[in-house]
């Protein structure tokens, strides 16, 4: 499964009309990875051309941008060029989700509907879970593209699902510590943490707890070091 598949699957699960996914790697401009229909493609292009819209705002704020009615004054004030253009393209509501783990930013997933109206609490929860999944899959894809040994995103040791929301604080702290121990960026530090857990058949949260408690240090590995890349 790829991040693009997660984006496509979100359309049916969240009950939206269409979706698109943009991957961001380092300082590069966004790369459009998936559109589920022509309107999505048009909306993605409009945002890139006009340089405004829910997607760019979601990346900038680090949180979702939920524009449930593009006809509303607030939407028009916020995106004076994009909002009317998106309406004309056929979208009445757009929901954009940044694909990120803290300071690790991998892209943005946007969903649109032909009807206006907010996502229900369940739909919002589902959309966030799809965004989490797409984030992990994008991180893996970026690592593979950079020649790293990617870890399976869907599963931890023994096929357990990577449980990112529960033991999260220690995982985040350990990731931050590894940037210093390994001299790498935050994205690579997270990959190294997961690779170590995978290679030693340990739960990510247990490994993170050992690092935070300073019972374990990881050493810089010259072979895995990708200078200048995050």
């Amino acid at each position: 499964m790829s991040a693009a598949d997660a984006c496509a699957a979100a359309v049916a699960a969240v009950e939206v009309t269409g979706a698109w996914l943009i991957a961001v790697s380092g300082a590069e401009a966004g790369h459009l990875m998936r559109v589920t229909d022509q309107v999505s493609e048009l909306l993605a292009e409009l945002q890139m051309t006009l340089g405004e819209g829910p997607g760019p705002d979601a990346v900038a704020s680090g949180g979702p941008v939920l524009a449930s009615d593009l006809d509303e004054m607030e939407a028009v004030r916020r995106w004076p060029a994009f909002a009317p253009a998106a309406r004309q393209a056929g979208a009445a509501a757009i929901f954009a989700f940044p694909l990120q783990l803290g300071a690790i930013r991998t892209g943005v997933m946007s969903l649109y509907r032909v009807r206006s109206g907010p996502l229900s609490a369940f739909q919002l929860g589902d959309a966030l879970i799809f965004a989490d999944t797409a984030t992990l899959l994008l991180l893996d894809a970026q690592d593979r593209a950079a020649g790293g040994a990617a870890v399976s995103a869907g599963a931890g040791p023994g096929g357990q699902p990577a449980d990112l929301t529960r033991h999260r604080a220690e995982i985040d702290q350990a990731t931050g510590m590894l940037t210093e121990q390994l001299g790498v960026g935050i994205g690579e530090a997270f990959l190294r943490l997961r690779a170590h857990a995978y290679a030693h058949d340990r739960r990510l949260s247990d490994l993170a707890r050992d690092i935070v408690a300073r019972r374990l240090r990881l050493l810089p590995d010259p072979d895995l070091r990708k200078d200048g890349q995050v």
Binding site: L128, R166, A169, Q173, G176, I186
Partner: protein, 256 residues
């Protein structure tokens, strides 16, 4: 109770319209002031994630933050009961609560707490989280203090919700989710700074917070810049740490 601090705190908790308002920092003010004003040893705050999970957003100490995490992980405890019912939950002596919370009660006592009071953060029917007050010694909480605690939680809830247009659930969800994301960035920054200076997570957090205050920046922006390496926090004043926070003597706190 310090009346002047209390009135200052109410002003502080309603002052969300200022430029650079930061939800995480705001909620830390709530937990810190609860400890200063009320006869409690520690305070923690949980908010509901739109995914349906509770998340620890602020805590007055690392010990209480871990205890709150434990409650979420073991799916049991007064804060969860409080959040689910929307009603205050009190336990005056956790030694007598092993049946009610078989996992939480021993963990709380091990963390050094004997009594707990959980207060809902709610506006009408909507419960967005819970403020949890912990005390080292057993005994019932003074009803007057509980009322002040609930008032602080209420004011904070209203302040969080007033910023946005109440007609939309959109903005609330955006803001809470953004706050939860910045919580992750702050944890990453704590880890990086703790490793760099050889301090523990609590000290790292205090340093980040102080640095944000001194430079008049949002805590989450500062954390982001530090993690991304665009700000080395050169102005960080490590020497102003109390001596037990000495940078050259890493404090080892297993599990923290």
């Amino acid at each position: 109770m310090d009346g002047e601090l209390l009135s200052d705190t109410f002003v502080e908790l309603t002052d969300t319209m200022v430029a650079g308002f930061d939800v995480i920092d705001f909620l830390h003010v709530l937990t810190d002031r609860s400890v200063q004003l009320l006869d409690v040893s520690a305070a923690g705050l949980l908010l509901a994630d739109p995914r349906g999970e509770l998340r620890v957003v602020a805590a007055s100490s690392e010990a209480v933050r871990l205890l709150e995490l434990f409650q979420i992980q073991s799916d049991q405890g007064p804060c969860l009961d409080c959040f689910r019912s929307g009603q205050p939950v009190q336990a005056a002596d956790l030694a007598a609560e092993a049946r009610r919370w078989p996992r939480f009660a021993p963990a709380a006592r091990e963390a050094g707490f004997s009594a707990v009071q959980a207060l809902p953060m709610r506006l009408r029917e909507q419960v967005i989280g819970a403020l949890n007050l912990f005390r080292a010694g057993p005994g019932a909480f003074d009803p007057a203090e509980v009322r002040v605690g609930q008032a602080l939680a209420d004011v904070a809830t209203i302040s969080l919700l007033q910023e946005r247009n109440m007609r939309h659930s959109d903005t609330l969800n955006e803001q809470l989710q953004t706050a939860l994301n910045s919580r992750v960035i702050i944890e990453q920054a704590k880890g990086k700074l703790a490793e760099r200076l050889g301090v523990d997570m609590e000290q790292a957090f205090n340093l980040l917070r102080e640095s944000a205050r001194t430079s008049n920046r949002r805590l989450s922006d500062l954390a982001q810049a530090f993690v991304n390496g665009t700000d080395a926090l050169a102005g960080l004043n490590v020497s102003r740490l109390p001596s037990r926070f000495s940078a050259d003597r890493p404090t080892r706190r297993p599990g923290s």
